[in-house]
Symmetry: C2
Subunit: 294 residues, 2 copies
């Protein structure tokens, strides 16, 4: 049973219980380019209390630097090494887990964030923004140097990219098929749009093959990286998010307590529903409620 | 057990057995814009013998008229009323089965063939080629007049089209979700490309919903139309194609005998494999073999 944080004392007890807070961003801190009222003050309250803060996002479209610019623009304090994205997780997975060979390259269906993070780890890549634009019925030739296809959200996705990715995965033995995350939709302007999980679906259908790896929440790659780098105490760590199937499941799988906010895609009814089996430890109307005085 | 037509007498017997021939086109008569050697003569042999010929294609990208032009260009005799495509079947299904209301319109992910055939049956439509081009992060507004989304092969598919189709299907109660056909791939220049079944996959994933109808082979809509219009004798009718899971299954479901050619995607090994349970009555190296003399 999830506990709703309603009183000042409950909120105070929550803040005293944890030293480390992992934050989902979209739906918790902001929606699109609009920061929720009270968030800047609530985040500053954590900073003033000496808490450690990490940002854990499935959004692969921006680089870490571009995220940092966004935090600055919205007035939320953040540091580069506190930001973890599914693009960073994908690059780290290729580099450290797969030990992706230097003579191979990655074909990208996705936006600049993926290419930026791959190149930051010295992984060669192609496709992505370079393949924006119409398909001219050109014959797609296989490129045997492509050793992995990475698919993330791509609002400039097109047939050329699908055709190339399909050709490489079909012809290159051992070519990895990797999804940055599997969110089928994401919220924009109070509605939903198809997400990375939907963008990858034509390849799954055409190849009749599931991806070899999916990096974003609820997969544990970002969790593992943070715990390995910062030696945090799991009992003093809380994951805060707005989605049960990504954020809260991510926290549960990582063995930390969880807080679900109601400023994103999840309603109070869904959290409390008998059908729901992804139950956060706590939930609250919005993270900005932490600045409400008694 | 499938019988291979190898001798002149076997081929002669086959031609005497049937009055009506349903042909798949791509992989049987031609590949892309390249007619197979001997096909023009083999087709003329059927015409000279007074056989009825129909062309039954899952290709929704061209209108009937455009197909007729292609037949002419390649030198194969054909008439407009012999041509049946998944785009024609989709338009007929909307018109006659769904009795699609005149105050509603169809949103198209697909190429000009679909729009042409819908308009030929006085069905209003939008999208399709009009939505080619990049996605400018525009907010997609729902259009309550959209009463159906039709998805076919679209080599100019983009995020704008997916976003619009998703929005209409999600918001408009009773909005039909229709696929022209479900081929996950199709052959081009000796290789494969993602087909209509793959193009529709992001909507299936984002909506977590299967389509309401799939019109192309092996579905029986084109078969039913041909038999209703031409009062053919099923026992004197043969379906000829290169794909087991579309063409041959289409014939089997329609209760007619079938001939699989080896000039397309299916190999002799696949036809004879123990795992294969879609068994054609006959198979032959290529349809052009019918002009080989004893």
């Amino acid at each position: 049973m999830s506990l709703k944080l309603e009183s000042f004392l409950e909120r105070k007890g929550f803040l005293e219980k944890f030293d480390n807070y992992l934050f989902d961003c979209d739906g918790v801190l902001w929606e699109g380019d609009h920061v929720f009222p009270g968030i800047i003050e609530a985040m500053q309250l954590l900073r003033n209390a000496g808490k450690k803060v990490f940002f854990v996002t499935n959004n692969s479209t921006k680089s870490r630097e571009a995220f940092l610019q966004k935090f600055k623009k919205l007035g939320i304090e953040a540091n580069l090494d506190e930001i973890f994205s599914s693009a960073v997780a994908t690059a780290a997975y290729l580099k450290h887990i797969l030990q992706f060979p230097a003579d191979k390259k990655v074909y990208i269906i996705g936006m600049s964030g993926i290419q930026h993070e791959l190149e930051a780890m010295d992984i060669r890549c192609c496709g992505g923004e370079a393949d924006n634009g119409p398909f001219d019925n050109e014959i797609v030739k296989n490129d045997p140097e492509v050793g992995a296809v990475v698919v993330g959200l791509d609002t400039q996705v097109n047939y050329k990219k699908y055709n190339k990715a399909f050709t490489y995965l079909r012809n290159n033995t051992g070519c990895y098929f990797i999804m940055t995350n599997q969110d089928s939709t994401f919220p924009v302007h109070g509605t939903l749009q198809p997400g990375a999980g939907s963008i990858a679906a034509p390849l799954i259908t055409a190849l009749n093959r599931q991806p070899d790896a999916i990096l974003g929440k609820p997969a544990q790659n970002m969790m593992d990286t943070i715990f390995a780098e910062y030696k945090l105490d799991r009992e003093r760590t809380c994951m805060i998010g707005d989605r049960l199937d990504t954020d809260i499941d991510f926290g549960l799988k990582g063995g930390v307590e969880t807080l679900c906010v109601l400023t994103g895609v999840t309603s109070e009814e869904e959290i409390l529903s008998k059908e729901n089996n992804i139950v956060p430890t706590y939930y609250i109307r919005g993270f900005a409620d932490f600045v409400v005085e008694p």
